[in-house]
């Protein structure tokens, strides 16, 4: 298994670079994960990441794309509440790329 070494701490990751243990996550490792994904984290990126984590804590799953866009629209303004904006933030898809940075497991299925 792969891992990220950071500040003397080891973060275990799977084949695709997702954290294996949700609880390992902190902002430092998020920054490293974002760098691996070539994502420059802005405040708005963090808003998305934080929302994903909150939602996950409540529901044990990442939010549906629609739920996410709606929530982001509420937080950052209606003109940003669409998947196009989310793809601007996370070009490889909000569900997959943003989840990785947020330390959530990758949502898989027929999506």
């Amino acid at each position: 298994m792969a891992a990220i070494e950071l500040n003397g701490k080891t973060y275990e990751t799977d084949e695709e670079g997702y954290l294996v243990n949700l609880a390992d996550w902190d902002e430092d490792v998020a920054a490293v994960l974002a760098e691996q994904e070539n994502v420059q984290m802005s405040n708005n990126h963090w808003e998305v990441v934080n929302f994903l984590r909150e939602y996950y804590n409540e529901f044990q799953i990442a939010p549906a794309v629609r739920v996410l866009t709606k929530a982001i629209g509420k937080k950052l303004g209606p003109e940003k509440g669409n998947s196009q904006y989310l793809y601007e933030l996370f070009p490889y898809g909000p569900a997959k790329q943003a989840c990785k940075i947020a330390g959530l497991p990758k949502p898989t299925g027929c999506i």
Partner: protein, 700 residues
């Protein structure tokens, strides 16, 4: 000398007949727990007989598949038939009237037979794809037949022989020993095909050996494997893995008649070689359907047939080695189990069944695929492929109700776990989660609302998909399917309806009856209870498209078709709906009903080229358990034929919406469309179109 030949011929005939009888007895003994339909699924016994007749007499599938093989094959077979009839004159006295009439034709038939065989044999040398799949025994067989034909002709025309003196010999001369299925031998022919009527897109690629040999999806870890009751990993000792794999193969051969027949029946004709979208897209010869089968057939022959045990290199048999097992893993995970190849095979051989068996054996030795097995684990643990727990579903559905209210002003409900609802709607979990899937979900709710039918989703049966089929594992298939039965019993529903999901509809339509008793078939107490509970006036299960189309025909739904005028629509037939199930009450309903709905809710519709839709539809490139990111290379390349067909209608008719009724198709196209220069939003659901146009009523 004559005596020697006589004995030889009798012995050869005896071997042939005994071998054939042995095989048939084996097939008869082996159960067929799941029905494996052949396209286009006839609905009556007479239909089945007629379908078989066309296949056996006219080689219909071969005709669709490859004109050259068909022509040479037909020349040979009809020639042979006539020659046989002509030779009857040696055995009957007086010679029957019609046999006498045949005599002059029979003479020419001898030439036709030889020419046909020559053409078939030439293809084994001239066509790269056929050369690749030919084994020495294929050549030997053609050589024998050709020698028979040519010596026969020579006896007639060069040195006339007194046949009556050696009748015994002539009688059996057409029976090559050993291969019980020799009769319909139809091999590839002549120069490379440019048969325009069959291939509007001349995309038969040159072979690129091992082009995809480097692509391998992630292997499941121990946790994932063990959750399904599979060995966590492969044994360290190869012999142990080897024995387990061969052992499992033997068990599967005892369990599935289809597998036995498919492994035996192939004659390497090559009709299927250019029919797989993955071969078309990659050029990797191991992605030719017959070559994919051959990965397993070679091992089957070595361990389970006399010829393969005695003369392995003659019949292309080989030992199971770690390299072979790796090859299985790679190439059985480069098949989407779409069954397109089976449409063109004169024997209806379904590569998907062999792929499933391959995956099942791999799982049995601890070599599972991460993507599929992880997902099946989530279904057992949480209830659906995505792993959406009940509260998350509820939250999402609440959000949908708000959105639809905002959009339309109507209180359309998206109920979850409602006791006593009339309809249980089982849909892929992607329909709750992803775009554009969720737009169809909105559409389902609007249909039930407008028709005034009470309905519910279930958190227990929150997944229509059944990846148990993808991995070819009967127990997993059944376990996943049983969730639907449990939910239906708990909720007391009267009808079970399946949402837009291709393979789910195959499982529901073809397997649920025997697996769970949804539909007739199973006879355990729960199945019987469920059959009593369900309303017999409706088809159980029904597809959502059948429900919507029935309502439209009854005049219970109203549409403003102009609401879809910004869309110019085409329809992509999903493999499992098209080739492994039906809709409505006559063959081909699965093609008509979704299109009827689209035409009822929208004004602008154009089909793609006929050889790319209907039963010949091309897979989206992501079905059957390959919808995972690490296989993106394969997925993009495999989408090529569909993309070419789409491009046509985009260029010619300005199509900007490709409707489909499968969650995997939607997800796959959303991802690969941009690679071909299309917008990812070009794909959507049929009920998305319904949703746009439906009139919800007058109350505000």
């Amino acid at each position: 000398m004559s005596l020697f030949f006589a004995i030889l011929f009798y012995a050869a005939s005896a071997i042939l007949v005994a071998g054939l009888a042995y095989k048939i007895a084996g097939y008869a003994r082996t159960p067929a727990p799941l029905s494996i339909p052949t396209t286009p699924g006839p609905t009556s016994t007479a239909g089945v007989v007629f379908r078989m007749f066309r296949e056996v007499v006219f080689f219909e599938s071969l005709f669709k598949g490859n004109l050259w093989i068909w022509m040479f094959g037909a020349m040979f077979h009809f020639g042979l038939a006539l020659v046989l009839l002509r030779h009857l004159r040696y055995f009957i006295e007086p010679v029957w009237f019609w046999v006498a009439i045949l005599q002059p034709f029979g003479l020419y038939a001898g030439f036709a037979m030889a020419a046909g065989l020559g053409g078939l044999w030439a293809r084994r040398f001239l066509v790269e794809r056929i050369r690749y799949i030919s084994t020495p025994s294929d050549h030997l067989m053609l050589a024998l037949l050709l020698v028979i034909a040519v010596t026969g002709l020579a006896m007639k025309f060069l040195m006339h022989t007194d046949i009556v003196a050696v009748t015994l010999r002539a009688k059996h001369a057409i029976s090559p020993p050993g291969r019980p299925n020799w009769r319909r031998r139809t091999d590839m022919a002549g120069p490379e095909i440019k048969a325009p009527a069959f291939r509007e897109y001349p995309t038969i690629p040159a072979l690129q050996p091992d082009a995809m040999a480097g692509l391998k999806c992630y292997v499941a870890n121990e946790k994932i494997q063990e959750a399904l009751g599979f060995p966590g990993k492969m044994a360290d000792n190869w012999q142990e893995t080897h024995d387990k794999a061969i052992g499992r193969m033997g068990e599967l051969l005892e369990k599935y008649r289809s597998l036995r027949v498919f492994l035996d029946a192939c004659v390497h004709c090559g009709s299927c070689t250019d029919k797989c979208h993955y071969f078309i897209g990659t050029g990797d010869p191991k992605n030719m359907p017959v070559a994919r089968q051959e990965l397993m057939r070679s091992v089957y022959r070595r361990y389970f047939t006399t010829a393969g045990k005695l003369f392995p290199s003659l019949v292309g048999a080989r030992d199971l080695t770690p390299e072979v097992l790796d090859e299985w893993y790679k190439y059985y995970w480069q098949c989407s189990e779409c069954r397109r190849c089976s449409v063109f095979c004169p024997y209806g051989i379904d590569t998907a069944e062999i792929t499933m068996a391959g995956r099942e054996i791999l799982d049995a030795v601890g070599y599972g695929q991460k993507y599929s097995n992880e997902i099946i684990g989530k279904v057992h643990r949480i209830g659906n492929n995505l792993g959406l727990p009940g509260p998350a579903l509820q939250d999402t559905l609440n959000g949908l109700e708000e959105d639809v209210k905002d959009d339309t002003g109507f209180d359309v409900k998206y109920p979850l776990d409602v006791q006593g609802a009339e309809v249980l709607l089982v849909t892929p979990s992607a329909d709750f989660f992803a775009e554009p899937h969720i737009e169809s979900t909105i559409g389902y709710g609007k249909v039930f609302h407008a028709a005034g039918i009470s309905w519910t989703f279930s958190s227990k049966a929150s997944e229509a998909g059944n990846f148990g089929m993808f991995i070819g594992n009967y127990e997993q298939l059944r376990k996943v399917a049983l969730r639907v039965r449990e939910a239906a019993l708990e909720l007391g529903v009267k009808r079970i309806v399946v949402g837009e999901c291709g393979h789910a509809w195959r499982v529901a339509y073809a397997f649920w009856n025997t697996l769970t008793g949804i539909g007739a078939g199973a006879s355990d107490p729960f199945a019987v209870e469920l059959q009593k509970q369900l309303d017999p006036r409706y088809k159980q299960p029904s597809h959502i498209c059948e429900v919507t189309w029935d309502l439209i025909q009854q005049g219970r739904l109203k549409f403003d078709k102009s609401a879809n005028d910004h869309r110019i629509i085409t329809f992509h037939d999903s493999c499992n709906v098209a080739r492994a199930s039906r809709m409505g009450d006559h063959p081909g309903g699965q093609f008509e009903i979704p299109r009827n709905i689209v035409r009822a809710v929208a004004n602008r519709f154009h089909d793609m080229a006929p050889e790319t839709i209907g039963e010949q539809t091309f897979c989206c490139g992501g079905g059957g358990g390959v919808l995972t990111d690490e296989l993106m290379d394969l997925r993009v390349k495999g989408a090529l034929p569909r993309m070419e067909a789409l491009k046509r209608v985009v260029d010619d008719h300005g199509v900007n919406f490709m409707a489909t009724i499968c969650a995997i198709c939607k997800a796959q196209f959303s991802k690969v469309l941009p690679y071909y220069g299309f917008k990812s939003g070009l794909v959507g659901g049929v009920h998305q179109l319904v949703s746009t146009a439906i009139q919800l009523g007058n109350e505000q």
